[in-house]
């Protein structure tokens, strides 16, 4: 087994969740790395869409922003931002929306708006961007986030984008037909919604991580599935491709 960081394991586990036939709405950062890793390994036919309007893009280096020139230069076509949100996202063309977040709760609702009171913020976060509508208009969503007590919270101060709602049943009540968060991929494990309650439940633990560690880094008392498997370790090829694109990216962006 090759050496790997927990962050690499997270990205690789996320990449594996994507299928060759997916049309994926990609957020910047970890989602972008995971989606491009999938494209460069097991899912060469995957379609990656960035909210800047770039459709079926194949960046050679990871973009720093959602609208780097690289995304347009390697895209099948580039449409306006209103068209992207109207015809492609709201139009129901996206199979998987890939989100990150600052804070998450047990039903995979996300906060990227504010810590503290909205009108008197302790920390003002960037806000929702595309997330509120990605969360309801994509066929399903995958979330990628490193665990930690300040990120995995019992109760969010603000819901920026809906997961399964505050009771786990809101999607049904609000007649949202998309599946919502079907996977939450962290640096320690993978959660999936419980079939009955929609509470995000640990189904797989990454090699080297423990139940105790997961519990310690979670602001609520997390549920484990009846059968928890071990996430297969990264393969040498997965690590090589990921490290290659990250090295190319670092060289390209400078610092």
């Amino acid at each position: 087994m090759a050496d790997f960081t927990r962050n690499e394991m997270m990205t690789i586990a996320a990449a594996r969740a994507l299928r060759n036939e997916d049309v994926c709405f990609v957020g910047i950062g970890a989602p972008s790395a995971a989606c491009n890793l999938a494209r460069l390994t097991h899912a060469p036919g995957i379609t990656l869409i960035y909210e800047s309007g770039t459709i079926a893009t194949k960046p050679n280096v990871l973009p720093l922003s959602i609208g780097d020139g690289e995304l347009c230069d390697t895209a099948l076509t580039t449409v306006s931002v209103p068209e992207m949100f109207r015809y492609w996202l709201q139009g129901g063309r996206i199979t998987v929306g890939f989100l990150g977040g600052a804070q998450i709760d047990r039903f995979a609702n996300l906060n990227t708006t504010v810590v503290g009171d909205y009108h008197k913020p302790k920390v003002r976060l960037p806000g929702g961007g595309g997330a509120p509508e990605i969360a309801t208009n994509c066929g399903e969503t995958f979330i990628i986030m490193a665990m930690g007590k300040r990120a995995f919270m019992e109760k969010l101060p603000f819901i920026t984008s809906m997961g399964h709602g505050v009771t786990g049943k809101e999607r049904e009540q609000l007649v949202v037909r998309s599946k919502g968060p079907t996977k939450l991929i962290t640096d320690l494990c993978i959660f999936e919604p419980d079939p009955q309650t929609n509470e995000m439940t640990i189904v797989s633990i990454h090699p080297g991580a423990t139940r105790e560690e997961i519990i310690e880094n979670c602001g609520w008392s997390p549920r484990f599935a009846a059968n928890v498997s071990e996430t297969p370790a990264p393969t040498a090829q997965e690590l090589e491709v990921l490290r290659d694109i990250q090295a190319r990216t670092k060289a390209a962006h400078g610092a």
Binding site: G53, G67, G69, S80, P82, G127, G128, G130, P132, E133
Partner: protein, 283 residues
């Protein structure tokens, strides 16, 4: 028909204290040179509208131009916070900043509705989230056919819209190419408009009959500012200066450092300072 003006004249004529102002460019073609000119001319009490108020509005807000920000994602993309915006929102420095916050989908639709001369936009959005609780501009309507409830936002019709484009011809027709964002919508939705361009040419050199072109008569002023989108980029002219975006995190973190940088690089400079970033310039 568009007038060809200097950047100083265009801003002096078109942008007034208290205006609502949209400066768009979705990562690409952000009109930084125009933003700097507005800072130099010390405009005040602006309502700044922009989906992603990144460095350009961080600078304008940090220099005290704005009383309100309408936005949907406020950060330094891929880097972190926009410190000056946070300082204004959290601490009221250099002045208090009201915010009206939306999602990207809502703002994109609101610009679209503005361009289409509709009073509002509707979308399948804002479902199960808290933003409508803190933004009373978000309402809803019921479909007269299906009974479905849809979210609404008011159309955006700014007093002034400013964008940066690739080039203009001598009649003032303007070409955009690549990631075109909401720029066409901003120009068509605004009462007054300024378009800065990389160059003015005899022939636009459009390569497709469906190229994104804004006719001269939709534009108030065309201003030639080579490099005027730096540190963002201009498709086919120069690349995004990602290292500047990364460096900005440090430059803008404290008030004194920010003010010193602005004094040196904005207040004491003019639009010509952008030329060094333009295509064909010595880097």
């Amino acid at each position: 028909m568009a007038k060809f003006l200097s950047l100083a004249d265009a801003v002096a004529q078109m942008v007034h204290d208290g205006d609502t102002l949209a400066m768009e460019g979705f990562t690409h073609l952000i009109p930084f040179a125009a933003g700097h000119e507005i800072i130099r001319q010390k405009r005040r009490d602006l309502t700044l509208i922009r989906m992603t108020p990144d460095l350009i509005y961080d600078q304008m807000i940090g220099m005290g131009c704005a009383k309100k920000l309408v936005f949907s994602w406020g950060g330094n993309p891929g880097v972190g916070s926009t410190h000056r915006i946070r300082d204004a929102v959290e601490n009221g420095w250099p002045c208090a900043l009201a915010i009206e916050e939306h999602s990207h989908a809502a703002m994109a639709n609101a610009y679209e509705a503005g361009a289409a001369n509709l009073p509002f936009a509707m979308l399948r959005g804002y479902i199960g989230v808290d933003l409508p609780k803190v933004n009373d501009r978000i309402k809803s309507i019921t479909c007269p056919y299906t009974g479905e409830k849809l979210a609404t936002v008011p159309a955006i019709r700014p007093d002034v819209g400013i964008i940066h484009a690739l080039r203009a011809d001598r009649e003032g027709n303007v070409l955009l190419e690549g990631i075109t964002g909401c720029q066409k919508e901003v120009v068509l939705a605004s009462k007054r408009t300024i378009v800065t361009v990389e160059e003015i040419v005899d022939n636009l050199g459009t390569t497709s009959p469906n190229s994104v072109v804004l006719p001269s008569w939709t534009i108030g002023a065309v201003v030639c500012v080579p490099g005027g989108a730096h540190p963002s980029y201009a498709h086919g002219y120069y690349k995004r200066d990602n290292s500047f975006y990364i460096a900005w995190d440090k430059l803008s973190r404290d008030r004194d450092g920010f003010l010193a940088w602005m004094d040196e690089n904005v207040m004491k400079k003019g639009p010509d300072a952008f030329a060094v970033h333009a295509k064909g310039s010595a880097a």
